[in-house]
Amino acid sequence: MINLAWRDIRHAWSKFLFTGAGLGLLIGATMTMAGVYRGMVDDAKVLLDNSGSDLWVVQQGTLGPYAEPSSLYDDTWRSIRTVPGVERAANATYLTMQVRKGNTDVRAMVVGTSTVSYGDPGQPGYLVAGRQITRGHYEAVADMATRFSLGDSIQIRRKQYTVVGLTRRMVSSSGDPMVFIPLKDAQEAQFLKDNDAILQQRRRTALNPAFNPPGQPKLLDAVISSQSTNPYVNAVLVQLKPGHNHGKVADEIKRWKHLQVYTRAEMEQILIGKLIATSARQIGMFMVILMVVSAAIVAFIIYTLTMGKIREIAVLKLIGTRNKTIVAMILQQALGLGLIGFIAGKLVATLWAPIFPKYVLLEPGDALRGLLAVIVICSLSSIIAIRAALKVDPAEAIGG
């Protein structure tokens, strides 16, 4: 038996191909939206993976350090280190800002990391070029996405840093590449004031009789000294000894240190469930709209194609073609169009994904779900055309 749908597609292949390609752009956009969402989730997971920690200790009552500001004294890590089960604990600061290189700047997350010993949580886990930070000041390790190179001199606030190492896929939850610098530099950068502001602050302090009482000149120096240093960090990252229960150690720290502690699962929930939740809903809405538009376009195309063949359908019915043969023809054409669209969509999404400024993760599972969605959408979209075709009276082939 002749496959009428395939013959029609083969006969007018350019029409189907171009229509399918147009539909493919729409499907490609939908797949890319899904890829953007997956990329955001992956960025969030990568951020947690790359920190190398099992627990995140932050200020009580906050969702820090990524979702909310958190402030801890920078000696807190010492007491956490004594909790049973803790292998390593290290301070970390996070500050998203513009990092300058010459006349250009890059949006980056500046991470202040411990340089006390190699392997502390918070340090970049691996490098693709160069070396780790070995000096206490003015060295940086940058993610390749910053487009910085080894030996580049970059500016963070007023200080210049030399790029000594490069990493890959070290990004913040919003996809900004990371720049690692020594912790002390990062603490300074977080609260660094300009010279005029420092001058004004010193003048105000000197004029305040509480800080500058007569006969106690050293008090003013002490106050000014405390104002110009930053003893805070955003979080203490904790690595546990093998075999220890994360939840139990977290409870210990919460109980005895009066701090907020998050496990990996809880932190993932914060990042994915709260930090990118609105963006995810936004993307979800876009995907729904794109799918509805795709369905409407497929329905319109198939309906138009079918209406263009009304006479032929009437003749087919008159010469004895079964309704199921006609239904199969329309359904197969809709699915054929969807398949062309899916292939074109997958192709363009794969081609343009690397051009996107943020990470677009196209997962095979999403592609499979996309294919199923295309099949369902095309099948449903062809219903209108099928109904129209089934209503065609074979008598229409006969004039009068």
């Binding site: 038996m1 002749i2 006969h11 007018a12 003749v315 082939a397």
Partner: protein, 236 residues
């Protein structure tokens, strides 16, 4: 009823509408065509030609009367066959005013599709189609698409499609309307030739003055009734 009758219609009536707005399109049509015979069915617009053709083609149901194909009663106040689609496919061939070939099938498959629908194998269907195309002198166009054919060639292909299942009856609805005199006469000549070869009873509905003289017998339909007339039979 004669044993060899191609199609026989007795007192066929068709009413449209109901209650006070009944329109009687056919008011008792009698018609008989023998196998191998081509008769003309003529009449003014609105006389009931198309309604009669649709009843004969089993696409609308008459109100009353009788219809028989090859002496087999198919309608007697109600359809006596359960599958009208199969009846149309196996027992009735159609030739339309415009050929209405399937544009995405080549010529041979336009014809072979009909037996394939009846369950005949692809090879056998294509052999039958090719045989008919050769007989109608368009065998060399077997692989062409309808859009690549002239109007006359397309109409010959539609004749082949009508005959491929060797139906006892062929209904031709203004088959020469879009053709010039020479091609119109050529089509009628072929219909006559094929009618004889395949022993089909052919009814040609026409307005075409050029071909009316070619029929030996004519049924003139007026106000829903048929009158049989002798034709000139000038087919040369």
């Amino acid at each position: 009823m004669a044993e060899n009758t191609g199609i026989r219609i007795t007192d066929l009536r068709k009413q449209y509408g109901s209650g006070g707005s009944v329109v009687e399109a056919l008011k008792g049509v009698d018609l008989q065509v023998e196998p191998g015979e081509v008769v003309g069915l003529i009449g003014p617009s609105g006389s009931g030609k198309s309604t009669l053709l649709k009843c004969l083609g089993a696409v609308i149901e008459p109100t009353s009367g009788q219809m028989a194909l090859r002496s087999e009663l198919i309608y007697d106040g109600a359809w006596l066959v359960s599958d009208l689609r199969a009846l149309r496919r196996d027992k009735i061939g159609f030739v339309f005013q415009a050929p209405y070939l399937i544009p995405f099938l080549d010529v041979i498959d336009n014809i072979a599709l009909v037996p394939m629908l009846a369950g005949v194998s692809n090879t056998e269907s294509r052999n039958r189609a090719l045989e008919l195309l050769e007989a109608l002198d368009v065998g060399h166009r077997a692989k062409a698409f309808p859009s690549q054919l002239s109007g006359g060639e397309q109409q010959r292909v539609s004749i082949a499609r009508a005959l491929v299942n060797r139906p006892p009856v062929v209904l031709a609805d203004e088959p020469t309307a879009p053709l010039d005199s020479e091609r119109a006469l050529s089509v009628i000549r072929m219909l006559n030739q094929m009618a004889v070869q395949y022993q089909a009873a052919v009814i040609v509905v026409t307005h075409d003055e050029k071909i009316i003289p070619t029929f030996k017998r004519i049924y003139r339909i007026r106000d829903g009734r048929t009158v049989e007339e002798a034709g000139e039979g000038r087919l040369c």
